[in-house]
């Protein structure tokens, strides 16, 4: 009786077969999901380009350099929106990145232990605010505040710089930059906190042992160590700023114009698509919005590749030096 019970073919096989079946199922499921994502991505690009085709055929590459956006004459061009997108994103980064790095440094090195978790959670919660709520705040509170207090001060004291000259406006490029910077801060801050925490403590202690002050330690050991990651996180923030549509639509004023000043209304590519897609009066105007979307995809791709190139290069340089 006991010998039959110990027959290996009767007992272990069923218990081994079951996980094997589960494994195949998991592999199929996960593989199908991954392939589905690739397919969706490909279809998305296909459909966007297909919609853009009439406009691509009509305007060609001249679309990029034309500043017309006129449904009455059926002339469309992306120039002002490309510049507007780059301008708002860059200014948002100029405002946000130093702040975010300072926050990351504070949370990882300087803050008393009791403050680290609550402040860190608050910074991450900032990223959870829906952009439409930020935009609403931009319309009702921040825009009027900028127009009433900040922009007049800027034009009084820094008006000799064209960027800060002109008539204050509650809707315009500057409010869009501020809203975008608020969206970028939590991304860069939480990544840079993790980066700073990843600096090996023997490196930091070594610097301190050599007599470095805390600032010297941050500047000469920590910042170089994490520079690749910081650049990558900045590019991530840039990608966020380039693609944001709703909140920008709410505060930028939607004007097809480029000004030397940050005060008057302008527009970005994403914002123009969001604002005008419903009820385009002509077939060509709808197609031109799709053309804008194609250009936006290309810019996002370039940003992504550039981020990887830069961070990879910095990391290798650092690896070589160490």
């Amino acid at each position: 009786m006991t010998t039959t019970n110990l027959d290996p073919s009767s007992i272990p096989l069923p218990t081994r077969r079951r996980p094997r079946f589960g494994e195949t199922g998991l592999r199929l499921l996960a593989g199908a999901t991954a392939l589905l994502l690739v397919a969706i991505m490909a279809l998305l690009v296909y459909e966007t380009v297909r919609q853009a085709r009439p406009s691509i055929q009509e305007f060609g590459l001249g679309f990029i350099t034309s500043d017309q956006w006129n449904a009455v004459t059926d002339q469309f061009g992306a120039f002002n929106f490309i510049i507007g997108t780059l301008l708002t994103s860059v200014v948002a980064l100029v405002i946000a990145v130093p702040m975010a790095i300072a926050i990351g440094l504070f949370l990882s090195e300087l803050a008393p232990r009791v403050l680290r978790t609550p402040v860190g959670v608050m910074v991450e919660l900032l990223a959870a605010i829906p952009s439409v709520v930020l935009g609403l705040w931009g319309i009702l509170v921040m825009g009027p505040f900028l127009a009433a207090h900040v922009e007049p001060w800027l034009s009084d004291h820094l008006g000799f710089i064209p960027l800060f000259s002109g008539y204050p406006s509650s809707q315009g490029v500057l409010p869009a930059c501020v809203v975008l910077s608020i969206m970028v801060v939590p991304i860069v801050a939480s990544i840079s906190r993790e980066l700073f925490l990843s600096v090996p403590s023997d490196l930091k202690q070594g610097a301190m042992a050599l007599g470095a002050t805390r600032w010297e330690m941050v500047r000469s050991v920590m910042l170089p160590y994490v520079s690749g990651g910081l650049v990558a996180s900045t590019m991530l923030g840039f990608g966020r700023a380039v693609g944001e549509a709703i909140a920008v639509t709410q505060v930028i004023g939607g004007a097809n114009a480029i000004s030397r000043s940050l005060f008057p209304p302008g527009d970005t590519m994403a914002s123009r698509i969001a604002a005008q897609y419903a009820g385009t009066p002509t077939a060509l105007s709808r197609s031109s919005l799709a053309y804008l979307a194609v250009l936006l995809l290309i810019i996002s791709l370039i940003t992504n590749i550039a981020a990887q190139l830069i961070s990879g290069r910095l990391q290798r340089r650092l690896g070589g030096a160490a």
Partner: protein, 357 residues
């Protein structure tokens, strides 16, 4: 993690190339038109619609009343005139609603859609200038000059000469317009094109015109909010928003040289003065002739946009007949919609008769 930066870049670039190939396929592929799905479903007791925010308050009165009297549920999404045209073009709803008639391209895309005037309303110019009272007078050419950017301050002599006795400040003028496709933009720019040849040649009339200056805002509510938030702002909204948001209204000069308020009486006067129905079924009311001294110059019909063949033709015909009939129109005056003139009701009835399954 173990990948070097270069490897990752290579992989991204490879993926990008793959996507580029897809894009190229799209660019070269046949432009075969995608068949529009006939939406709606088969439930006969529900009619869905989408479009104009202007007409939404009226439809929300029809909904419960019509459900009670006819047992048909109306579901309406106030997504804006442009959104409504898109929805009916894709046949994702049973009816669309727009304050602007279909443009040529839109009419082509909508494939034999009928436009039926079913409500009468107006677009009103509103402004917010500290220290300036309600009911400032403006003429069409002055309004065109403001929105072209050639009049830039409120104390400009051209505005002052129309308003003797009003103390106008030197506040900078901020024109505010609709950034989305809007029937109000169409009415507003049609009026400016009718009274200013300069505007007509440089900007023209459209649901989404290229305004030479100023800032855009989304929907009526966005324009109302932007005007209220900005000292020196001037914009245009549907007439029902003036009372709802207690906004200032500007009085516009009509062809007779009068400055009528946008009351139901003045809108009716405009509708009575214009009875010509265009070949496309639209009835443009802007800038009515001088023979109607009481007519408000920026009045407009709001249109129901209906596919000529619909699986729910019977229900649609019944609902539209109700809407333009005495019961449906009776809800209007309290909300700022004067009843339709009888000539238009007769015209709409003949159009409704064309709907078939």
């Amino acid at each position: 993690m173990e990948m070097t930066g270069m490897q990752r870049v290579t992989k991204t670039a490879a993926l990008a190339m793959a996507l580029a190939v897809v894009a190229l396929a799209a660019a070269c592929g046949s432009s075969g038109s995608s068949g529009s799905s006939s939406g709606g479903g088969s439930t006969s007791t529900v009619l869905t619609g989408a479009g104009s925010t202007l007409v939404a308050p009226l439809i929300s009165q029809w909904e419960p009343d019509y459900a009670k009297s006819a047992g048909i549920t109306i579901t309406y999404g106030a997504v804006g005139s442009g959104g409504g045209i898109d929805a009916i073009t894709n046949r994702t709803v049973d009816f669309g609603a727009s304050d602007a008639p279909l443009s040529t391209d839109q009419a082509t895309a909508c494939k034999s859609c009928l436009q039926i005037p079913w409500a009468l309303a107006a677009t009103v110019v509103t402004y917010n200038v500290k220290g300036v009272p309600d009911k400032l007078k403006l003429t069409g050419p002055v309004l065109a000059a403001i929105f072209s950017g050639s009049i830039t301050t409120w104390n400009d002599s051209q505005i002052a000469s129309l308003n003797p006795g009003v103390n106008l400040p030197s506040t900078h003028i901020t024109p505010i317009y609709r950034s989305d496709g809007s029937g109000d933009s169409y009415v507003f720019t049609s009026y400016l094109s009718a009274v200013s040849s300069d505007w007509k040649s440089k900007v023209g009339a459209s649901t989404q015109p290229a305004f030479p200056t100023g800032q855009g805002a989304e929907k009526n509510s966005g324009v109302a909010a932007a005007v209220q938030a900005t000292d020196g702002a001037i914009g245009y909204v549907a007439v029902s928003y003036i009372a709802a948001d207690s906004l200032n209204e500007a009085l516009l000069q009509n062809a007779a040289g009068q400055y009528p308020e946008p009351t139901t009486k003045a809108i009716t006067a405009a509708a009575d003065a214009v009875t010509t129905i265009q070949p496309d079924g639209s009835v443009p009311l802007v800038n009515p002739p001088a023979s109607a001294p009481d007519a408000y110059p920026m009045s407009t019909y709001s249109y129901a946009i209906i596919p000529q063949t619909s699986p729910k033709a019977k229900q649609l015909k019944a609902f539209l007949t109700y809407a333009i009939g005495p019961t449906g129109q009776a809800f209007g005056p309290d909300l700022g919609f004067p009843p339709l003139p009888s000539a238009i009701v007769a015209h709409s009835k003949t159009v409704i008769a064309k709907i078939t399954t």
